[in-house]
């Protein structure tokens, strides 16, 4: 999909990568020189559970086209169960997005272990493609009436 200004639409992806698995997997993708689209900006979190819904929503409502959360495979969480929490939260967030009118596909959770550089590259490639087909985050183009700066609440 192309945007109005004639440039090819390049989705903006924010990543929350768990330090132990997915961040390491992304490192491995680098070490292995596996090429993938340059659309993701990663934030390293100690555990995928650290991808707080508030952060995710902040990004999505701020116009980021997709949020990627990468965690350890079930049973491999460095903290035992953080990824299970993540999975539950992501399920809730997807519902929330759907209700608000944001495509739930804009939020993606993947399990990527430290040895799965190829999987990481593949996941980003795939997610980028998916987001390209979805088009830009509508919130990016929606103009909201300017907020009124009011009196500060005491």
């Amino acid at each position: 999909m192309d945007t109005a200004d004639g440039k090819r639409f390049e989705p903006k992806i924010l990543g929350f990568l768990c330090n132990w698995c997915c961040y390491a997997g992304a490192d491995l993708a680098g070490v292995s020189r596996l090429q993938y689209p340059p659309n993701i900006r990663a934030i390293r979190v100690m555990c995928s559970a650290g991808a707080d819904p508030a952060y995710v929503m902040k990004a999505l409502l701020g116009g980021v086209d997709g949020v990627f959360i990468g965690g350890c495979h079930p049973g491999e969480c460095h903290y035992t169960s953080g990824n299970y929490y993540t999975r539950r939260r992501v399920a809730m967030l997807k519902k929330l997005m759907e209700i608000l009118g944001l495509e739930p596909e804009r939020l993606r959770l993947e399990w990527v272990s430290a040895s799965e550089g190829a999987l990481f590259a593949e996941a980003i490639k795939d997610f980028t493609e998916k987001l390209k087909s979805l088009g830009p985050n509508p919130l990016k183009v929606k103009k909201r009436p300017g907020a009124v700066v009011g009196v500060k609440r005491s």
């Binding site: 299970y84 939260r89 929330l96 909201r144 500060k152």
Partner: protein, 342 residues
């Protein structure tokens, strides 16, 4: 309807008298006699101010959590949404369930506006003693969607019959003890037939949620943005919400999440509320009732909680032992391998 109130009052009075509880919390008439207010009663004499009308403006759950002394034993007159709210905040350790004695009143809805003394029944309503067909439009939207008229989570539940009789069901051991203090004999009621209410709830849920769901995603987004655009960040929804029990809310301007001093607030304001109550909304409707800008927030939260509940097989407020589903994991999680829950 006096008979009903009398039975309830009688039980409460007995409990207070027998020192089974230190305090009674219920809606009742204010000192002027016309307003219906939440009351914290420690004096037996005040018991007769208690009413069981279907117009009760705020959530007792929230009040108990905020103003009650959690170490005191309290009898609380609750509708099911109040009771469910209390169950949810009990999970969040804001009340001690062992100190709560819940006197449930079967509730088929409250009216949006006060029109004298109103009693709602499954299929009819009584306004100032006059029985008439139920005008669903008069009901609060959340009540129309409510599928829990019977407060089964309370220790006892009282059913008000159109004829004014009050039938009591004992739900717990604690309930038995509570009834033992009553001076009038109370008979055990046959179970209520809630099929009609479930049908009504389904119909209204389908309508309220369906209206939204049927929109194209973009349309839906526009709809909500236009709703949120009216927000004046009065925090009314939050303040009224029984689930919002934080000492210091993270949506306050100095907490870094939401910029201070501007309205409408960024959409994140609503999103964060959603993520916080989405797993536990008991559809009490307090938020929407509190909203001066008539943003249909209750519909939003209820809708999300139904969706979330359907994933995790979780119904807020019914079972005190099951934790909010997004703040816990259980054995079954360990067996699932995919990235999607389910």
């Amino acid at each position: 309807m006096a008979k009903c109130a009398e039975v309830v009052q009688d039980i409460l009075r007995g409990m207070l008298r027998e020192r089974l509880v230190d305090e009674v919390v219920a809606f009742g008439r204010g000192l002027t006699g016309s307003d219906i207010l939440p009351l914290f009663i420690t004096d037996e004499q005040d018991i007769d101010r208690i009413v069981t009308t279907s117009y009760c403006p705020s959530s007792l759950a929230k009040l108990v959590a905020r103003y009650g002394d959690r170490n005191k034993k309290m009898a609380i007159v609750v509708r099911s949404c109040d009771a469910r709210g209390l169950v949810e905040i009990a999970k969040r350790r804001q009340v001690k369930p062992e100190n709560l004695y819940l006197v449930g009143i079967e509730c088929y809805g409250v009216v949006r506006e006060k029109r004298g003394e109103v009693y709602i029944f499954a299929d009819k309503m009584e306004v100032d003693g006059e029985m008439m067909p139920l005008d669903e439009a008069a009901l609060s939207p959340n009540c129309r969607r409510c599928e829990y008229p019977v407060p089964t989570m309370a220790d006892i539940s009282c059913r008000i019959e159109p004829e004014g009789d009050c039938l009591v069901t004992v739900n717990t051991e604690k309930g038995k003890a509570m009834l033992a203090t009553a001076s009038v004999p109370v008979q055990d009621a046959p179970p209520s037939d809630v099929a009609a209410i479930k049908e009504r709830a389904a119909r209204w849920q389908e309508k309220d949620f369906g209206d939204i769901k049927r929109m194209e995603p973009g349309e839906r987004l526009d709809y909500w943005l236009s709703q949120f655009d009216r927000c004046i960040k009065c925090y009314g929804c939050r303040d009224a919400c029984p689930i919002c029990v934080c000492k210091e809310c993270c949506l306050e301007p100095d907490r870094g999440l939401i910029k201070g001093g501007e309205y409408p607030p960024e959409t994140l304001f609503h999103a964060v509320r959603l993520t916080h109550v989405g797993e536990s909304c008991v559809n009490c409707g307090q938020c929407e009732a509190a909203c001066p800008m008539e943003i249909p927030v209750s519909k939003l939260y209820h809708m999300l909680s139904k969706e979330v509940g359907s994933i995790f097989n979780y119904e807020p407020g019914l079972d005190i032992d099951s934790l909010p589903p997004v703040s816990m994991v259980d054995e079954e999680d360990l067996l699932k391998t995919g990235v999607d829950f389910g």
